[in-house]
């Protein structure tokens, strides 16, 4: 069985977001990490590998420095790693990103594709389902439990107030939630081996069935009109009132803001 896990290198926003003195985001001060939902997806794949001996390939699209993250994935236990990198692919929105990654996946044998639900930088949750759409595969989003049963997977698919237990025939694509599991650490032997392994690097020209009209900034239907670091809001009002007045004050604000 062949499992492909799509992973992304992202700036770490959870370990403490850093700000410049003017309140804008200090990107340089933040670490680059494997996106948490993707790491949970990789762990889910490695658990299937532990049970069944499946082969696990990790794929990323990004800058050459994403090599670090791919080696981390190899050190955790992935068998192969692919880096899709090319300046012509830069500035892609989710349509162009998913078109590009789907083209890369056509070069690989897969029974099961796992992506993270969403990346902590873009927060879109769109690339996984869109890859499935480009490849003509069933998609199961928001997975919290994945079991392989013969030629099918059985997945717990989360909604706000319930879950569905869903069975899908492979090949299919699953998007994983970070709540799925606790990812394993790299092993010392794994780290050692990871630096001897070859990372396959593909550029634009290695990707087949991919129209230039669907890649990079120019191939992105959505365009950024304006972007800014959100300046953190300052303190609001502070009042010291007796309890009765305090209650009136809070109820007044909740009404004013249409909360009640």
């Amino acid at each position: 069985m062949n499992i492909v896990v799509c992973i992304k290198q992202v700036p770490d926003t959870k370990g403490g977001v850093k700000f410049n003195p003017d309140g804008t985001l200090d990107r340089a001060a933040m670490l680059a990490i494997m996106n948490p939902d993707d790491k949970a997806g990789l762990e889910a794949a490695l658990r299937i590998k532990d049970e069944t001996g499946a082969k696990v390939t990790v794929v990323t699209m990004g800058l050459p420095k994403a090599d670090d993250m791919l080696r981390e994935a190899l050190a955790m236990g992935a068998d192969e790693a692919v880096l899709i990198t090319d300046r012509r692919l830069g500035g892609a929105d989710t349509w162009a990103t998913s078109s590009t990654i789907a083209a890369g996946l056509r070069n690989i044998d897969y029974d099961l594709i796992i992506t993270g639900r969403q990346a902590i930088d873009g927060d879109t949750a769109q690339v996984g389902p869109q890859i499935a759409e480009h490849l003509g595969l069933p998609v199961i989003s928001y997975a919290e439990n994945i079991k392989v049963e013969g030629d099918s997977v059985v997945v717990q698919r989360q909604y706000e107030d319930r879950y569905h237990e869903i069975k899908a025939k492979m090949p299919c694509l699953i998007t994983a939630l970070s709540e799925l599991n606790e990812p394993r650490y790299m092993t010392p032997g794994g780290i050692f081996d990871a630096f001897d392994k070859e990372v396959t690097v593909w550029g634009r020209d290695d990707l087949k069935d991919l129209d230039d009209a669907n890649i990079g900034l120019a191939g992105s239907p959505t365009k950024i009109a304006k972007a800014s670091d959100k300046v953190r809001k300052g303190a609001g009002e502070k009042v010291a009132l007796d309890p009765k007045e305090s209650v009136e004050y809070i109820v007044g604000k909740l009404k004013e803001k249409h909360v009640i």
Binding site: P11, T13, G15, V17, W95, D123, T124, A125, Q126, V127, Q130, A132, E133, G136, L137, V139, S141, Y142, Q158, Y159, E160, R162, Y163, H164, E165, I166, K167, A168, K169, P221, T222, K223, I224, A225, A227, S228, D229, K230, R232, K233, A235, G236, E237, K238, A240, L241, D242, P243, K244, S246, V247, Y249, I250, V251, K253, L254, K255, K257, V259, I260
Partner: protein, 347 residues
């Protein structure tokens, strides 16, 4: 594609168990503003099985037209049959704008459908308006008018971007629940109802639902809660969280807490907000007896409205609170709960 063929503002009216989700009405409310700016009308598209009666409700909340796609295969949400139905609607009726809720359904359906009809999709928008793209005219580039400008937070809420989809139709967005205002319900207001029956073909992408399990646990995920009543060490004792439970109940909210409370063993870890807990962005965050260390505020400062109650007027929580009340939570909370009960009973 000829962009001029696409007209009107459409919304996906999500229903679950044949009950319309609140987001459906919120989207109609926003769609009305957009349609007014464009001089067009609002269509609600509802998918399901045995859902004819929902059209009346959508009309009462302001939809001008309701397109009903009623088919047994749409009874319970599954990506593929829903995507086929919504894509068929888009191809047949050609709306210029298609809004979908950023719910666990919408964030699966939206990307699938947008890829299928080959258009852009902007995720989890918190503001939508009609304007020009580019915002300012530039030499050598056509400035298009009447475009949907979609604003959304990214980077865990630390950056904000406004996005347009100038060359593809429909312009699609998923919209964060709880942000847009519904219109007042007008009893008897009628929408034009259109029954549409596109063919839905079973293919390799159909999955099988083995089981539907509701309310997996009694605890709502605090990341999904729209109102959080969060307590810190200042609450004093685990028993005193009753005051927070009561307030949360009357507002339909959920109780969460700071790390100190988890460390003291008063509350489980899954209710913890902050750097080592969860990052939350509810509509309203009550910080009760929470001092507001940076490790805590990192996990909640993107909440829409922050109301802090603390007896220490120098507590750093007041630096991020929209409304800070210096006072005794033991006196304020019970009175607040009673006042809100009375207020809501009058509605």
């Amino acid at each position: 594609m000829s962009l001029e063929e696409y007209k009107g503002v459409a919304i996906f009216a999500q229903q679950v168990d044949n009950k319309l989700s609140s987001i459906a009405f919120e989207l109609i409310g926003k769609a009305h503003e957009l349609a007014a700016d464009l001089g067009t009308d609002v269509t609600a598209v509802v998918l399901g099985s045995g859902i004819g009666s929902l059209a009346d409700e959508l009309g009462e909340y302001g939809a001008d037209k309701v397109v009903v796609i009623d088919n047994p295969v749409l009874e319970t949400y599954r990506t593929e049959p829903y995507a086929q139905a919504l894509a068929a609607y888009i191809n047949e009726y050609k709306p210029e704008i298609m809004l979908v809720g950023a719910t666990a359904i919408g964030r699966d359906l939206g990307p699938t459908v947008s890829a299928r009809v080959a258009t852009g999709l902007t995720a989890d928008c918190t503001s939508l308006e009609i304007g020009d793209f580019p915002l300012v005219a530039r030499e050598g580039q056509e400035q298009k008018h009447g475009q949907l400008l979609m604003t959304r937070p990214a980077f865990g809420g630390n950056t904000i971007a406004t996005i347009a989809c100038p060359d593809n139709r429909p312009q699609m967005a998923t919209v964060r629940p709880g942000v847009m205002q519904k219109l007042e319900k007008v009893a008897g207001r009628k929408a034009e109802v259109i029954n549409y029956n596109p063919e839905i073909v079973e293919n390799n992408k159909f999955v099988e639902i083995l089981n539907v399990v509701k309310n997996i646990s009694n605890t709502v995920d605090i990341m999904d809660a729209k109102i959080l009543v969060s307590g810190g060490r200042g609450v004093g004792t685990p028993e005193n969280f009753k005051l927070l439970d009561d307030l949360a109940e009357v507002l339909g909210g959920t109780v969460s807490c700071s790390r100190a409370v988890v460390d003291a063993g008063w509350k489980p870890k899954d209710l913890q907000v902050g750097q080592t807990g969860k990052t939350v962005r509810p509509n309203v965050y009550f910080a009760i007896g929470i001092s507001g260390a940076i490790q805590h505020t990192a996990g909640m400062e993107e909440s829409d409205i922050i109301i802090a109650i603390n007896k220490d007027e120098t507590a750093p929580i007041f630096d991020v609170a929209d409304y800070g009340i210096v006072g005794d939570l033991n006196k304020i909370l019970p009175a607040l709960t009673e006042a809100l009960k009375a207020e809501l009973a009058n509605k």
